[in-house]
Symmetry: C2
Subunit: 248 residues, 2 copies
DNA sequence: CTCCTCTTTTCCGTATGATGGAAACCAAGT
DNA sequence: ACTTGGTTTCCATCATACGGAAAAGAGGAG
């Protein structure tokens, strides 16, 4: 049914990614539980094709080939998302966005703008830090364990507006709340006067993306959050279903 | 030495990417020359792991897993590039950038700013169209055959300034020149008053990235282009050597 | 400088697991 | 209902990946 060596090669790449993109042979062995000889052979193959590179201290790291494939894949996701984002716009009347976590940044990969005259636009491709956005909170709230903490340690939590949450304790509390109520808010924390509401796109219990609607504070404030979030979760679920129909 | 099934799985992924990220089984077979049964089995494996997804019309497409790995890999490249960009700044006195082609967009993945008071800054992560930048020209000039044409067909070539090259014939001539002299210029084609000079980072004869320096027209104009380009090519070569020491 | 330890790389006989041709299946159009 | 083009499944065969263990390197400590 499934090709063992390919699965293992993927295990190796994932182990490498989880180690921050760089690891020694033995660290990979510890993570994957595979014998040294096997890992080494797989790495040689990936190396020859440019999907892994070897540093001077003979540690291994993810290589440029993945950047290429990842880019193509990302542009596809944007296309698939279009109809779902359109539904979000219809539901809320506001601009809808799809964002993913890439490294430590939030990247907006697709958008459908609101039909209103006054509307948000966050150009597709823009990168922002996670702490000041609703999509960022969603993407981190559903991550395993201490992921969020380490991300914030690396990026810091610079103040963007007076409303930005800049201390890690408050943020962790916020993330807990986000998780329990199923959606995240951004009340002018990235830009004053701009509010957002975001929900996760879940594949099983793994978050693969976040969808949000954003617009001027007054209009967003006038909506019934619970109801809106409920509708958005439905759309996010449909989208997730299209992304991985019966995978795993 | 090398694991056959992994190599073939990579062939399949690359074939998919070259087809624009989406293809039927038989199209992949045509490209790779592998038997149907084999490809199908490999695809099932990649499918189960989320690196490929299947559309409702049972065609295959690159999946979300690649976005994740690609993101991690990209953030690594930025780190490795730092010292080389610093050398570029030292050489030119201007801001140095590293950019890659991601889908149809140019993405700036790393930057070291100039020490001058008046300096360029193009925030890392920014996406721009290729036709109006020196890095864009470089990345397309070294691509095989008609790649450049198809990219421009998809993106169009919107006028950014009076200097922007907006017609495809002139652009193809420009790319030929870029290739023959070994570097590309942007003379205020993306933004008036801002000039850039870019060189390719080559792995064998494949472009993996482009490095550029950019600054105010007067200062860039005062430099000896040939000499600067020569120095930059050396740095780009060193960087390429670090990226793939003895690969392929 | 030499020894010792830790990590990476190479080797090779074995049996596991990938292979691919061909047949069944499915969808869509005629 | 039939034909066609593409996709999925099957299975006997043997090429291939496997992994234990030994060799080679790289550092660090004495």
């Amino acid at each position: 049914m499934s090709v063992q060596s390919v699965e293992r090669a993927l295990d190796v790449l994932e182990a490498l990614a989880e180690h921050g993109g760089e690891a020694g042979l033995s660290e990979i062995a510890a993570r994957t539980g595979l014998p040294y000889g096997t890992i080494h052979r797989l790495l040689q193959t990936l190396l020859a094709r440019g999907y892994v590179r070897q540093e001077s201290d003979r540690r291994y790291a993810l290589g440029g080939g993945l950047v290429r494939l990842g880019g193509v894949a990302e542009s596809m996701v944007a296309v698939w998302a279009q109809p779902y984002l359109a539904r979000l716009v219809e539901l809320s009347g506001e601009t809808a966005n799809l964002a993913v976590l890439e490294g430590d940044f939030i990247v907006y990969v697709a958008q459908v703008p609101s039909p209103r005259r006054l509307r948000m636009f966050a150009e597709v491709g823009r990168r922002v830090l996670p702490h000041s956005t609703a999509v960022g909170k969603v993407l981190l709230a559903w991550r395993p364990g201490g992921d969020a903490v380490t991300v914030f340690e690396r990026t810091g939590m610079p103040r963007r507006t007076p409303n930005t949450i800049t201390d890690i304790q408050s943020m962790l509390a916020e993330l807990g709340q986000v998780r329990s109520r199923g959606y995240a808010l951004d009340l002018g924390e990235e830009e004053l006067g701009v509010h957002c509401l975001a929900v996760p796109v879940l594949d099983g219990d793994r978050v693969v993306a976040a969808m949000s609607v954003s617009g001027p504070a007054e209009r967003i404030g006038a909506l019934d959050r619970g109801e809106l979030a409920e509708g958005m979760r439905g759309i996010a679920r449909d989208f997730a279903a299209e992304l991985s129909p019966a995978a795993r």
